[in-house]
């Protein structure tokens, strides 16, 4: 695998679902990439298609009813074109997944140890004792007290936080190179959340993994993300380095997202309006109906191309495009600790909303 090539490269990923009332496109031509040792965060409200995107990478989504197009190059191989049997070799062994709700994530009828060693033994020819030893020390590593005796306990005998630790152990038992974490801490209370995040961070270095982290909580993003990809209604609005985006968010949606955070000087208000209907998404920019700077151009044609507005930072917004006036949108001064109070730039230029 050439060094310069990213660990995971997703191009034009599209996932559609055929339901009773027409086809629904949850992910509509999304690209992103993850390098080894890097943590990429996909951010967006729930229903923005971020979970579907991650689950389409290794085709965990059931097809039918789902259809997945585009290319997902992992270590140079396009996973989507692989036959199921080969893809199965990669799941759990090369690419691991942890999910949001640890309570339901484990089968109540089997011991925790059995479920962890299962992940290992279906891929590698490892004897039971070896597998047990590896699992126990991993459980220990993820912070489960007296792991060797807890190995034979059942899921209902663990707390939420412990269960998530077990899930992490289960994911890492196969020494994966890429870890996809789909809102792993959302269901946990805040104190446990912090521990889990720090654990993930340490493990990332120890296992030299790439981490694709999905969350809607910008607090979490700030803490662990290297790069972030902002998704809305199935499309990428903005991507870039975490610090750049937090300092000077380009896309109005990102700006509003950041405003929701009190510690970033936002007023804590929510974003007016609701998500568009995925069955027939609006023309032009997906955020146009809820965007205060929306203009006629925003509501026609396709989602605007992503334009590099700063080194490593791209935004998909008409105003930055050719003939657009970025000053309308681009507002300086919004950054950590700076409380200019004013919400946005000179509001008199763009019509508030039509």
């Amino acid at each position: 695998m050439a060094d310069d090539q990213p660990l995971l490269e997703v191009e034009n990923l599209t996932t559609k679902f055929s339901t009773d009332n027409g086809t629904l496109t949850a992910v509509d031509g999304v690209d992103f990439s993850v390098n080894t040792g890097e943590t990429v965060c996909i951010v967006g409200e729930s229903g923005s298609g971020k979970t579907v995107a991650t689950e389409s990478i290794t085709k965990i989504i059931n097809t039918p009813p789902g259809e997945i197009e585009g290319t997902v190059r992992y270590k140079g191989r396009d996973l989507l074109s692989l036959p199921e049997s080969e893809l199965r070799q990669i799941r759990g062994n090369e690419i691991a997944h942890i999910f949001q709700n640890p309570q339901e994530a484990m089968n109540h009828c089997y011991t925790v140890g059995w479920q962890i060693t299962e992940a290992l033994q279906i891929h590698q020819d490892v004897s039971d004792d070896e597998a047990r030893a590896k699992a126990v020390d991993l459980m220990d590593r993820v912070g489960i007290a007296n792991a060797s005796s807890r190995f034979d306990d059942y899921p209902h005998e663990f707390s939420g936080g412990q269960k998530q630790r077990v899930m992490i152990a289960m994911a890492l038992v196969g020494d994966p190179d890429l870890l996809i974490a789909d809102e792993p801490t959302t269901a946990l209370d805040v104190t446990v959340q912090a521990q889990i995040l720090r654990l993930l961070d340490d493990l990332q270095e120890e296992f030299e993994m790439g981490v694709l982290f999905v969350t809607h909580d910008l607090g979490v993003v700030a803490e662990i993300a290297d790069r972030i990809v902002v998704m809305y209604a199935g499309k990428v609005m903005e991507r870039g380095d975490v610090l750049d985006i937090f300092d000077h968010p380009g896309h109005p949606y990102t700006q509003q997202l950041l405003e929701c955070l009190p510690e970033f000087g936002g007023t804590g208000g929510g974003i007016p309006g609701t998500l568009p209907d995925p069955h027939d998404p609006p023309d032009g920019c997906r955020f146009a109906p809820r965007c205060e700077y929306a203009e006629e151009a925003c509501r026609t044609g396709e989602q605007p191309e992503e334009i590099e507005v700063a080194p490593g930072q791209e935004v998909s917004c008409v105003h930055y495009g050719p003939g657009g006036n970025p000053s309308i949108v681009r507002s300086e001064g919004l950054g950590p600790g700076d409380d200019t109070g004013t919400v946005d730039g000179d509001s008199e230029v763009g019509p508030a909303d039509d």
Partner: protein
């Protein structure tokens, strides 16, 4: 309260239940006129003796004139020491009659139970796996067909077609045939088929509904993410949780079917099994044999329920023993 204590509690309870049922049977039968006494009376009358006195002697001979509770106690003593007395209508000890009949019943009920316990859940999970597809409708259709068609009706038709017309299977059941021979398999093929179609329906339906829920459970997504193959996912991750609710209904279903269905299949295919033994014992009003067979079925039912409880707790670790 710990597995050990729980098991003993259930076993004790099983013994109490069997005692109650046995007592009810005893009372029912002792209320019925005893044919042997009547026969003795007519016998004596025909020989010019005094019928009343002969009836009294016969009753004495059989110990029927002692007070009820004395008869009841030595009846219970006999029951639990397995001396079930002599069967008049079969001229052999009741115990021997029951074991001999059991030998034939076992030959078809063991394969029947195994097939039902294996095929039932498999077909159920399979049809849940491709819910609402034509495969699902076919499987449910088959299950309902088997469940709905009266087994004796189905039996006589199959016997006519395969026995009389095609002559593939013997019409009368040959007892002399060695148990594990092909000939025995042939002659038991149709009875077992009739019984399995009858019992598989209920099991299949329960397993289909139960496994449908587990199919979309989160741990299935985890399993897929771990790279577990669909086959293994179903075999382990869906099957075992499905067996939990299934086990409660499974044993109950099989027991209910065991006496009824087996009796009719034995009558239709002239298999000298336990069902027919009970039926003929009742027709001949052979008190000892009726009690013997009732005891047997009671023990089977009671042990069945016991197994059901134990299996239930073993299969589903979430159930702790205190709140059972």
């Amino acid at each position: 309260m710990g597995f050990g204590r729980y098991v003993t509690a259930r076993v004790l309870w099983a013994a109490v239940v069997s005692l109650i049922i046995v007592t009810v049977t005893f009372l029912l039968l002792s209320a019925a006129p005893n044919p042997a006494v009547q026969r003795a009376a007519t016998q004596a009358a025909l020989q010019g003796g005094d019928p009343a006195e002969a009836a009294e002697r016969a009753r004495e001979l059989r110990g029927l004139n002692q007070p009820l509770y004395v008869r009841y106690f030595d009846f219970i003593r006999n029951v639990y020491t397995l001396e079930w007395g002599w069967s008049v209508s079969r001229s052999q000890p009741v115990m021997e009659a029951v074991t001999q009949a059991l030998y034939y019943t076992a030959q078809y009920s063991i394969p029947w139970t195994i097939l039902t316990v294996i095929l039932g859940p498999l077909v159920g999970v399979y049809s849940a796996a491709n819910m609402y597809s034509w495969k699902d409708h076919a499987a449910t259709g088959f299950a309902f067909f088997g469940y709905a068609i009266p087994n004796f009706f189905f039996g006589i038709i199959l016997l006519l077609i395969f026995g009389v017309w095609l002559e593939w299977i013997p019409i009368t059941y040959k007892t002399g045939v060695p148990v594990f021979s092909v000939q025995n398999a042939i002659q038991l093929a149709i009875p077992v088929f009739v019984l399995v179609t009858g019992s598989i329906g209920a099991v299949m339906r329960v397993s289909r509904n139960e496994s449908a829920e587990f199919q979309n459970a989160d741990f299935m997504k985890t399993a897929k993410a771990k790279g577990v193959s669909p086959l293994r996912a179903y075999a382990y991750h869906v099957m075992r949780p499905t067996l939990v609710p299934l086990s409660t209904t499974l044993v109950g279903q099989l027991l209910a079917l065991f006496l009824g269905a087996s009796l009719l299949v034995e009558v239709v295919f002239s298999i000298p099994g336990l069902g027919r033994l009970t039926y003929e014992a009742l027709l001949a009003q052979d008190t000892n044999l009726v009690l013997g067979t009732t005891l047997f079925f009671t023990f089977v039912a009671v042990i069945g329920n016991l197994i059901e409880d134990l299996v239930f707790t073993v299969l589903d670790p979430r159930i702790s023993y205190d709140d059972r």
